[in-house]
Amino acid sequence: MAPKVVEEAAVAVIKPRALTQRIASLLSSGRLWLLLMLVSLPGFSLFATVLPEDRADVMYHRYDGGGVEVDGPSILVRKSVMDTVSLSANYYVDSISSASVDVVSTASPYTEERTESSLSLDYLHNKTLMSLALTKSDESDYLSETGSVSISHDMFGDLTTVSLGYSVGNDDISRNGDADFGDQVKRQNYRVSLSQILTKNTILGVGWETITDEGFLNNPYRSYRYLDPLAGNGFSYLPEVYPRTRTSNALAFRLKYYLPYRAALSSEYRYFNDTWGIDANNFELAYTHPFREKWIFDIRYRYYTQDGADFYSDLFSRRAPQTYLARDKELSSFQSHTLGLAMSYEIKPGFLQFVDRGTLNLAYDYIRFNYDDFRDLTRGGVVGEEPFYSFSANVIKAYVSIWY
């Protein structure tokens, strides 16, 4: 069995469908009209948007929580060509080792690696910024390709920036150890955002994003739990069944305020809902404090809460009592709290002539997840009355940034 899986995976890697061709064919089907229409709008270019800064970032990231450890590098390089084009490339790796609570209950711990690479091009034309990005994410059982276009424009004397974006992605899903399984997902994102200068100390950001998914949307390794009088422990598992479509909407507000001394206060609120019956809200408050010439300290708190999907249950009354069945804790009702600390120190590496400046950065997030309807079976108890699950995660980011 195993050699066959390896063989199939190898074929998938050797013969990937040409990403650019797929993106072009997806975009050509009448979707570019929006972009073209905007570019051709008369009187649309009132003030210039600028290209992103030339910079490079090298980061080491680590996530450790709930039996899951993920770490790896991320490298981003951005460089402008003349005054109108900026190119960027990002390479990102997740090395995952998982023995999470679901895995411990129903399957074996595993390790895997995900690599993500992306290229983007920003083009400044007639004082309008247009961006094109291609992203490819690759792991042994999941191949994902995404293409994005966006357009951004300043108006009303540079007080307002409006951006529109569209992404389309195709995912190929397989299941390690099961050569017969294969399915797809098609994803589309529609984004509108607005950045507004309110006063000489205050900026407001508003963002809306609608995402549609069609295809195989559950995790092929996860199972739902149901009462089974024939089972020794009183319950059994069967593979989850999700709807094959999902549409979600998110609306976010961000406010940034410059304090009377040099420091910044920011807040964020986001509302989310989807066609699976999930409602979520998150709120964040952050404070940024520069210290002397070279230091910047950040502290932030984030609260997140969601109501579970309509078809979620920790324990179904019997085998297949309804069409859709989920016991994925990410679809249950829960809250999370994040406390984040970050510090940045500015450097001037004199031995690198082409570098204007750089920063050394270290960030730490503590995240606590408390579940309302997902029970921890590793701790035992009467069936259906096991203690609720909760866990903490530690997230570390260490990175160097340079501007040139």
């Binding site: 981003l76 409006v162 200068i197 961000r254 940034k256 910044a264 995660a393």
Partner: protein, 74 residues
């Protein structure tokens, strides 16, 4: 439904592009806003990773600010 989603921003922009408003914050009054500490996306790589962590642990997604584009991760 999708057609409406796509049409709405276009109509909005059409309406906006015909107007002209005297800026109430002049360019020379924007020194504080130009300070890097006032940027919504000061560190794109770190922010990208932060959104990725939340997207894999929480059902909510979208409108995170920045590039977005989805990661296809389960």
């Amino acid at each position: 439904m999708l057609t409406n989603h796509r049409l709405l921003p276009v109509l909005l922009l059409l309406a906006l592009s015909g107007c002209s408003i005297e800026p109430w914050v002049q360019p020379y009054e924007r020194a504080r806003l130009a300070d890097p500490i006032m940027s919504f996306e000061r560190d794109p790589v770190a922010n990208g990773f932060r959104h990725h962590v939340y997207q894999t642990r929480e059902a909510a997604r979208g409108a995170e600010g920045g590039g977005g584009g989805g990661c296809g991760c389960n």
